[in-house]
């Protein structure tokens, strides 16, 4: 039925089946839409956020998603600036994932802020000293960049490409892509870092506070590095999931191996710096405000296990797997490493945002625990379902995977 739209030379499932698949994905998606409407309509009392936890799942998810979306900018960086040519076979898909990650980040911010209709104030009345302003600016600009990067893919759809103007436009965009990608990389570096700055400039919160280089706290650099380390893993993960659902190989293993290896090295570097940072915080900053490092891990569920899990299980283990050629080429192990790496980044972002707020600062302050409620979960996960839908459609109708034809001859 829709065969005219499907790229030439590839096979896709029957249209009916595709509709069923999209239909299934729509159910949780619609629940998410309801959560959005509830939060917008009845205000944020519909969540478990409160004055002690002004930041919750949403902000943690935002930080995490953007780190995962780092795969887009980093792959683009490697492809267009470092010029690792092999990566052209995955950069399209990395872009699609990036678009959805950033759309999700913006979408979640839209429900997280109390007055979404006044969201434009961040641009109009910008406070240039706020990390959040930097984040907002860079994210919006970078989202535009991602859309521009995604645009040629759409224009290359078989039917659209029949028209002269779109075809030509796509062609020129491709030509300009290195320049655009360079802008994107520049933006990404900054906002990944600024996100690290978001919790770390809060000197009223000694758990997250860090000193640093010029205006940037150390976590600024840690966040950039960790996003670069985990983004490619996320790209690998999503590629493999897509392959599973498509029931065929879409990207050659050597491409994936390059990404995994780079990821491993970066993760290793990140971990070294992270450990140095944690130790120096523990021996100098924390005691300087009158609290031993242990006191920040005294409230259950935020005990020492948090640090061990984050750095050890979700950091060192995937790092070892990704660095060892043999382990890396063992597919289940690679998937495990990617999973652990991505979970690690999420945990890190949760700790930096939510645990930061959980630790009582005043001695007479009570510890309260927080967990997200259904509305927060549904609205956050909504982006997962929406992304699945967008990826499904993109995969079906757009030439995302250049190696697909070669790997799956009809």
């Amino acid at each position: 039925m829709d065969s005219a739209l499907i790229p030439k030379g590839v096979k896709r499932c029957p249209f009916g089946l595709f509709l069923v698949w999209i239909g299934i994905l729509q159910i949780p998606f619609l629940i998410g839409v309801i959560a959005y409407l509830v939060c917008w309509g009845l205000a944020l009392n519909q969540t478990y956020l409160n004055n002690n936890y002004p930041f919750g799942l949403w902000i943690a998810a935002d930080l995490g998603i953007i780190a995962l979306g780092g795969g887009a900018f980093f792959t683009a960086f490697l492809r267009y600036i470092i010029k690792i040519d092999e990566l052209k076979n995955i950069v399209n898909f990395a872009t699609v994932i990036g678009v959805m990650c950033y759309a999700a980040a913006l979408g979640i911010l839209a429900v997280d802020i109390g007055q979404p209709l006044r969201g434009w104030h961040i641009f109009w009345h910008a406070n240039v000293h706020s990390m959040l302003t930097e984040v907002a600016f860079c994210i919006s600009c970078y989202f535009t960049v991602l859309l521009i990067e995604y645009l040629p893919l759409v224009l290359e759809n078989r039917e659209i490409n029949k028209f002269g103007f779109p075809r030509s436009f796509a062609h020129h965009l491709h030509e300009a892509m290195p320049a655009i990608a360079a802008i994107g990389v520049f933006l990404s570096f900054f906002h990944q870092g600024s996100l690290g700055g978001v919790p770390s400039v809060l000197y009223g919160r000694p758990f997250a506070y860090r000193e640093g280089f010029l205006v940037w706290p150390w976590t600024f650099f840690l966040f950039i590095l960790s996003a670069m380390a985990c983004g490619p893993c996320f790209t690998i993960l999503i590629t493999r999931i897509t392959e599973t659902f498509a029931k065929k190989q879409l990207v050659k293993r050597n491409v994936i191996d390059i990404l995994a290896k780079i990821s491993g090295w970066l993760l290793g570097g990140y971990l070294v710096l992270k450990i140095i940072d944690t130790i120096s915080w523990g021996v100098s900053l924390a005691p300087s405000v009158g609290a031993p490092a242990g006191s920040f891990y005294a409230n259950q569920p935020y005990g020492w296990w948090v640090l061990i899990t984050e750095v050890g299980i979700l950091g060192i283990i995937p790092c070892i797997i990704l660095l060892s050629t043999r382990a890396r080429q063992n597919q289940p192990l690679l998937i495990l490493a990617c999973l652990l790496n991505c979970a690690g980044i999420f945990m890190n972002r949760w700790i930096m945002s939510v645990q930061t707020l959980a630790v009582p600062v005043m001695s007479f302050d009570k510890f309260f625990s927080y967990h997200p409620n259904w509305a927060e979960w549904a609205s956050t996960l909504m982006w997962v379902w929406l992304s699945a839908i967008v990826i499904s459609i993109s995969y079906r109708y757009l030439p995302i995977f250049p190696q697909e034809k070669e790997l799956n001859p009809l």
């Binding site: 600009c141 002269g164 103007f165 062609h171």
Partner: protein, 52 residues
């Protein structure tokens, strides 16, 4: 934020920060227009070729 907004302060931070933003936005707009215009001319030429 524009220089005519109440909150504007003419200091280094504002110049650097807002300057960068406008530069980035400008570059993107220029790049898009450049591609668009080139495509438009391509299209015009092709149209011309067809008519010939």
């Amino acid at each position: 934020m524009f220089p005519f907004i109440f909150d504007w302060v003419s200091d280094a931070s504002h110049f650097v920060f807002m300057g960068t933003l406008y530069a980035v936005m400008g570059l993107l707009v220029i790049a898009l227009h450049y591609c668009g215009i080139r495509a438009f001319f391509d299209w015009l030429c092709k149209k011309g070729q067809h008519e010939h």
